[in-house]
Every structure is written in C-alpha cells, then in structure tokens.
Symmetry: D2
Subunit: 151 residues, 4 copies
C-alpha cells in the first residue's frame, strides 16, 4: 500500500479549448493534461520540464495514452484535476488523471510517459532523484517495479 496524496490542480475551461459544439475539443484535453503534468513536475516534485530539458537533456514523451471522455465540459467550467502514479517502471512511468466538476467525472486518462534522452530519443533508466520524487505520488494500488523485483 502506498497511501500517497494525488497532485491536484484546478483548470479553467477557456474559450479557445471549445469547439463549434460549445464543448472542449478533445485534443485540447491532452494539452490540459500536459500542462497538469508540467505543473506537477514544478509544484509537486520541485523540478521542471525546463530543468530536465536544458540541464539534464532528458524529456518525458508519451508512449501511450487512453482517455475516456465521460461528460462534456463547457467554457467557464473549473475542472478539478487529480494525478497519481500507478506504475513506476525502470525507464517509464504510468499516471492516472481524473477531471471532475463537483461530483461529476468529466474525463479519465491513463498516460505512459517514457524518460528519454533528448538527443537519441531512446528510453533511459529513470534517474534516482526523479524516481524518488515520482514515488511520493504512487497510488495506493500503484506498483513500483523496482520494489517488486527486490521483494
């Protein structure tokens, strides 16, 4: 059991997120999730995409995404986003993101992000300092593969 806390952040649904049907155009949810992940790196883990990019020359491209669009969101909605790590692998990690307005779930997503060298675009072992930070957001039902191997 990993009784960790989710990273949470509110996100205003803006005019430019919405399509002619007046609801969020679904690829915009992926941009919103990317902003959440970026804020999580900065505010939740005390690092940043900028640091990783410019100092460590690593990035975290997506290897896989799954998103369920459960109910539409409209301009002016405040989407409450929460993020947890569900799998901490050797070279990649998986996160689960949920977006709610009040009690209503609007969207659920699962993203696999790979830790990769910027130049070769190949996966690299997650640096220990970053791994330690990611662990703080491991879900209660999350799996740390390194821990599992050592058990």
């Amino acid at each position: 059991m990993h009784p960790n806390t989710a990273f949470e952040k509110n996100h205003l649904i803006r005019f430019h997120h919405c399509d002619p049907a007046g609801i969020v155009f679904y690829p915009e949810y992926l941009v919103i999730i990317d902003e959440l992940v970026e804020d999580w790196f900065i505010e939740g883990m005390g690092t940043s995409f900028a640091d990783l990019h410019m100092n460590d020359r690593i990035g975290v491209p997506a290897a896989r995404i799954e998103v369920d669009f459960i109910a539409p969101s409209k301009i002016g909605d405040i989407l409450c986003l929460s993020l947890l790590v569900t799998r901490l692998g050797n070279k990649s990690f998986t996160i689960r993101v949920e977006g709610r307005v009040g009690e209503q779930v609007r969207m659920r997503a699962i993203l696999v992000r790979v830790v990769a060298g910027l130049d070769g675009l190949h996966g690299i072992t997650i640096p220990p300092a970053l791994r330690e930070r990611l662990r703080r957001f491991l879900a209660a039902d999350g799996v740390d593969l390194l821990e599992a191997q050592q058990a």
Copy 2:
C-alpha cells in the same frame, strides 16, 4: 468477413506539429487524426462535418481514445495514415487508425466516436444513410452490431 478497403491519406509532418525535442507533440497527433476523420467524411463517404453540423445538427464527439506512440515522427516526414471501422454500434462507432512512414509504424490509435445531437449532446441512433456509408469501411475483423443482432 467485411473485405473493405481502408481510407488512406498522406499527412505532412509540419514545423508546428513538433516540440522542442524536434518530434511531433503527441496531442498534435490527435488533431492530425481529427483531420483524417474529417477528410474521410468528405472524400471517403461523400458527406462532411459541415453538412452534419449545419444541416443535420449532429456531431461526432469522441467518447474514448487510445493511442500508442510507437516511433517518433519529425518535421518533413510524410505520414501514411489508414483508417478502418472496427465496430459499428447503434449510436457510436469505433475506428482504428495507423500511421506509417514506409514500413515503420509510428502510431496506432483506436477512437470511439458518438453520433450526437448538437443541442442536447446526447447520443442518437446513427442515421441509416450515414450507417450505410460507415459500413463501406468496416474492417475484415470488424463488427456491425445491428447485423450481429439480426443474425
């Protein structure tokens, strides 16, 4: 068996699709896929998002997406996209999209699109004329739920 042909279209990877790592920013793939679906409606099925929107007052929002980003794409790549229907339901349909450059698969996606009234944003029974057009792109391993019910 539904020995239908995929809808295929080439898509140039442009400067604005790419991120500071020099590869396609993954939410842009969803916009590229949305353009493919739009072209499929026009060129493959002889209808259009514009017609559906403005005349029939229906849209086709996404209910679920799954995307595997298998290999990165760079500016100047010509992505060969192909699309097939894998499930034809009562109010929604599922498509499978693959993007290749030469023999290399770059991306595979599965999208569930709902046929919905623009005003209420509720799913509606797929109009017969649209259903007939969608059937022409049913994959060999695809399922037509109406056909299955009648069998």
Copy 3:
C-alpha cells in the same frame, strides 16, 4: 489623462508553446494573449467570456492584430504580461499588450476586438456596463471616443 492601472498577469512559457527551435511558436503568443484577455474579463472586470457568451449572447472577436516579436522566449520563462485599453469606440475597443521577462521586452501587441452578437456576427454598441468596466483600464494616452464626441 486617464491615469489607470494596467491589468497584469504572469504566464509560464510551457513545453507545448515551443517549437523545434526551442522558442515560443508565434501563433501560441496569440493564444497566450487570448488567455490574458479572458483573465482580464474575469479578474479585472468581474465579468467573463462565459457570461457574455451564454447570457448576453455576445462575443469579442478580433478585427485586427499587430504583434512585434522582439526577443524569443523559452520554456520555463515567466512572461509578465500587461494590458491597457488604448481606444474605446462605439462597437469596438483596442488594447495594447506587452510581455516582459525582467526588464527585457519580449513581445508587444495591439488588438482590436469587436463587441458582436453571437448569432449575426455583426458589431453591436458596447453595453454601458461593459463600457464602464473597460474604461477603468484606459491608458493615460488612451482615447474614449464617446467622451471625445461629447467634449
């Protein structure tokens, strides 16, 4: 002289704003400015795009933009944005936006926004309550055309 205060807001330059050269892709500045205008309506003027859209059925489309990209911005930069009204017309208003990082000006923009009915997309007289709010942000060198006519 209109000794009013600018609306100011910081904006993080994110990974998804940047292009393969590692700097903000210039159309993204327009999206950033649109978010600033949206925040100004909410936080500065106590109204919102959502209210205007859904209750008053009016929007504020752009009629003209001019932007000078003076120095590039990179991921992780905190852009300090400031906004003032430079012209308050009968059916439209002009704003001046500046983006700085420290003392360095990165971008200057002038935008003409029209107050328009959503349905007809025709310009309408700015409602008095909105006009009064816009006046609070009139630049020292700004012009209120109604005031000028009455003088």
Copy 4:
C-alpha cells in the same frame, strides 16, 4: 516592376479551426498562414523548413505580424490563399498574404520573417540560393533592398 506570380493554395476550414461562435478562432489563421509558408517553401521554392532546419541549421521566425480579419470564415469554407514577397531585405523578408472565398476577402496579413541561425537565434544574411528563390515571388510593388542599394 516585378511582374511575378503569387503562390496560391486552397485551405479547407476545418472543425478544429473554429470556436464556439462557429467561426475561425483567429490564432488558427496564423497556423494556417504558417502552413501556407511551409507549402510555399516546398512547392513554390523547391526547398523546405525540414531542409533548412536539419541541413542548414536555419529557421525563419516571425519578427512582426499584422492581420486584418475582414469577414468570418466557417467550417467547410475553402479559403483561397495567395502569398507575395513585398520586401526582400538583407536578413529578413516581408510577405503579404490574402485569404478569399470567392470574391470576398476574409483576411489580409503582413508577416516579417527573419532568416536566423537555429543555435544563436540571431539574424543572418539570407543565403544567395534562398534569396534567388524568394525573388521569384516579389510583388509588382515589392522592394528588393539589395537591388535598390546597387541601383
């Protein structure tokens, strides 16, 4: 007089270009123009952003844009875009872009693009081969500053 021909290309207005008012969201016009410039490099001048980027390590960032949004465009419109060079400087060039549907002008834009080294982001003298290609699209009222200096 430079009796050159404009580079012309049709561009479909797509669902994802449009906002909740059902018209093109104005920053999307800038992306559409960027695609036009990219197509002009490839189809009009026989080079490409990809070549310039990856082989010559140069880019063409925008230094200034001016856009007039004259009439709104909607989903399904085919925008006929035309592009001419109006100023050919030492390190930068200016283009004029017009978008029409039938006889109706929808949008006019002026863009100053700088030829810049990717690494330093400083302007560089336009390479002679690129300059020669740009000259082919010089407007009848366009100015070639090098020619003007030598006259």
